[in-house]
């Protein structure tokens, strides 16, 4: 179980990005973290996987506990070894390496089961097997996303953090990514799913958090958030009284509505 409590993250010693964030990811569950641009979602992912250093960021307060162990200031390699892997935003495949080599980097901390995990990834993504000698940089966005997920799977994580896996993918591919996430979860890996695509995220999430300005402003089960008027309006583009028919843009008038969590 991952427990983030009252986490504060500061960039460049001045920009306070996370202001007392608290999240829990219980074992075996899918937890969605929603929020608009600049809410601090990616920073949360960085904080958990120890990558803040690369961005001059620092966790100044609060703690990140993983199965009772404090990992707030652990190095990235230690965190991966402890069983947390991240699929980074924008896929970040190693373009000059082949598919196989990309997967090999994922197995860096887990050499013992590399063969088994490799077969598992290839079974899940037959497309990667077809192209296993090809340079990752020449693959399509969807294939690269599969590769990024497969690479994270090579470490056999107990918790996988996915940062915007649907970014820039066609709707059909988003469905596919969703199914893959479900499948990985069904095999016992907890998932922290960071998304802008709230519909996709909440449809598989056991629990969801809505983030704004570095804080959790709302949380609840997936169904509850999906049914919530504000989430509908601000993240799904639907409206409280919406019955499904099209609306004139004139009627939307975002600025007239206050989010109920805004103080």
């Amino acid at each position: 179980m991952l427990e983030i409590s009252n986490l504060e993250v500061v960039y460049n010693e001045v920009a306070l990005v996370l202001r007392g964030l608290s999240i829990e990811v219980p074992d075996g569950s899918v937890v969605a973290l929603l929020g608009s641009n600049g809410a601090g979602k990616t920073t949360t992912a960085r904080a958990v996987t120890g990558l803040l250093d690369n961005h001059e960021g620092k966790a100044t307060k609060g703690s990140i506990m993983w199965n009772g162990q404090d990992i707030t200031h652990l190095k990235p390699s230690g965190i991966v070894r402890a069983g947390i892997s991240q699929v980074m935003e924008g896929r970040r495949c190693f373009g000059e390496l082949t598919v196989d080599e990309n997967l090999a980097t994922g197995a860096f901390t887990n050499r013992a089961n590399a063969k088994k995990n490799y077969d598992r990834v290839m079974e899940l993504f037959p497309r990667l097997l077809e192209r296993n000698k090809q340079l990752a940089g020449y693959m399509s966005g969807g294939e690269q996303q599969m590769l990024a997920i497969g690479r994270a799977m090579m470490a056999e994580p107990k918790l996988m953090i996915l940062d915007e896996p649907s970014l820039g993918l066609a709707p059909l591919l988003v469905q596919q990514v969703r199914d893959v996430i479900k499948l990985i979860n069904s095999e016992g890996t907890s998932i922290l799913l960071i998304e802008q695509n709230a519909m996709m995220a909440l449809s598989i999430a056991d629990y969801g958090y809505v983030m704004e300005n570095g804080k959790i402003v709302m949380d609840g089960s997936g169904e509850k958030l999906l049914a919530d008027d504000d989430v509908k309006e601000f993240y799904l583009g639907l409206h409280g009284d919406d019955t499904g028919e099209r609306k004139s843009f004139r009627d939307v008038k975002h600025y007239k509505r206050r989010k109920k969590w805004a103080s």
Partner: protein, 336 residues
């Protein structure tokens, strides 16, 4: 820099001279190539231009010399059980074993330098890192000069100046040894890049943060890159210190500028981030240098003696104007 090129005059006829020149070019190119590979591996692994490679190469060659001649290990109290008996030349296997340990020393030196001077700079601008390596180069220099007492030291090369005869042309064994060394280094480095740490190093070179997210320990990759880089430039220095390369079987201050600066045209021609580029760059630069020295010598009166040593830099200048990322380099390589 003294007389860098012994012109082939003792053989007669066009073909023997041509063959001899070609072999000399390839041999010198092999040395440059090894030097270049050592430079490129540091650049690929850490994005740092390693201007300290000349000093490291000298230091590594001096390790070798001390182990072979003084029967002891440098800066350490115990003696070298593998040293040849005083006053005798080592057998080839014994020389190779000593070479192996010298390389290990060089690699450890490279790792220590990385840990002390480069690691604290990680995340700083690459320009600062490059200047740090310049500082390292200056800092290693006095140690090297003290170790040699400014005098040339022999490397105890077992085959000395022996030659094979081929079509009236003399083919020095040292030249062949240099080529074999380059082939072995090139093969070993290519093999390394397919290994676990090699793949990790390429991943770090491509995207450091994403590599970290896979659990790759970037610090260890840096350390390995510097260790390998130091070992490779040491190979270059040791094989350059064999006759009939100009220093005539010794390592002395005289070869330092060549080790330090000749690598620049090589890797600029080949491309900063390409291992095959370093190989071809080395061979091309050295061939240009040697052939210019051999066949343009009748114009020495106009050009002045030793003009062939500037040929590599002329090539470098042209490459920088026409194709600044080199023949094999990545086009969008970061500027430093």
């Amino acid at each position: 820099m003294g007389d860098l090129l012994l012109l082939a005059q003792d053989s007669s006829g066009f073909f023997p001279i041509f063959l001899q020149t070609l072999v000399k070019g390839l041999a010198l190119g092999s040395i440059y190539a090894i030097m270049g590979i050592g430079f490129v591996i540091v650049f690929k692994g850490t994005q740092v231009l390693n201007f300290a490679s000349g000093g490291m190469a000298m230091a590594g060659a001096l390790f070798m010399s001390i182990m072979i001649n003084d029967g002891g290990l440098p800066f350490m109290p115990w003696s070298n059980p593998l040293a040849p008996a005083a006053g005798t030349d080592p057998s080839i296997p014994r020389w190779l074993i000593n070479l192996f340990f010298a390389l290990i020393f060089a690699a450890i030196m490279g790792m220590i330098l990385e840990r002390v001077a480069i690691r604290p700079m990680v995340g700083q601008p690459l320009f600062s890192m490059a200047v740090i390596t310049l500082g390292l180069e200056t800092a290693i220099g006095p140690f090297n000069r003290d170790a040699t007492s400014q005098a040339a030291r022999t490397l105890g090369v077992p085959w000395k100046l022996e030659q094979w005869k081929l079509f009236d042309a003399g083919i020095p064994k040292s030249y062949v040894a240099a080529m074999i060394a380059a082939a072995v280094c090139f093969g070993a480095v290519n093999f390394f890049f397919r290994s676990r740490f090699g793949v990790a190093m390429r991943a770090v070179a491509f995207d450091q943060e994403a590599a970290q997210a896979q659990g790759i320990n970037v610090g260890r990759v840096f350390s390995i890159a510097w260790g390998l880089g130091a070992a490779l430039v040491t190979v270059a220095a040791i094989f350059y210190g064999m006759g009939p390369f100009p220093p005539q079987g010794t390592v002395s201050q005289e070869i330092h500028p060549i080790l330090a600066f000749r690598v620049l045209p090589v890797i600029i021609l080949g491309g900063l981030d390409s291992i095959p580029g370093a190989l071809y760059g080395g061979l091309m630069i050295a061939s240009a240098e040697v052939f210019a020295g051999q066949y343009l010598s009748q114009w020495t009166k106009i050009l002045g003696a030793g003009y062939s040593t500037i040929v590599p830099y002329l090539v470098m200048l042209i490459v920088l104007l026409v194709r600044p990322y080199g023949l094999f380099g990545t086009e969008e390589i970061r500027r430093v």
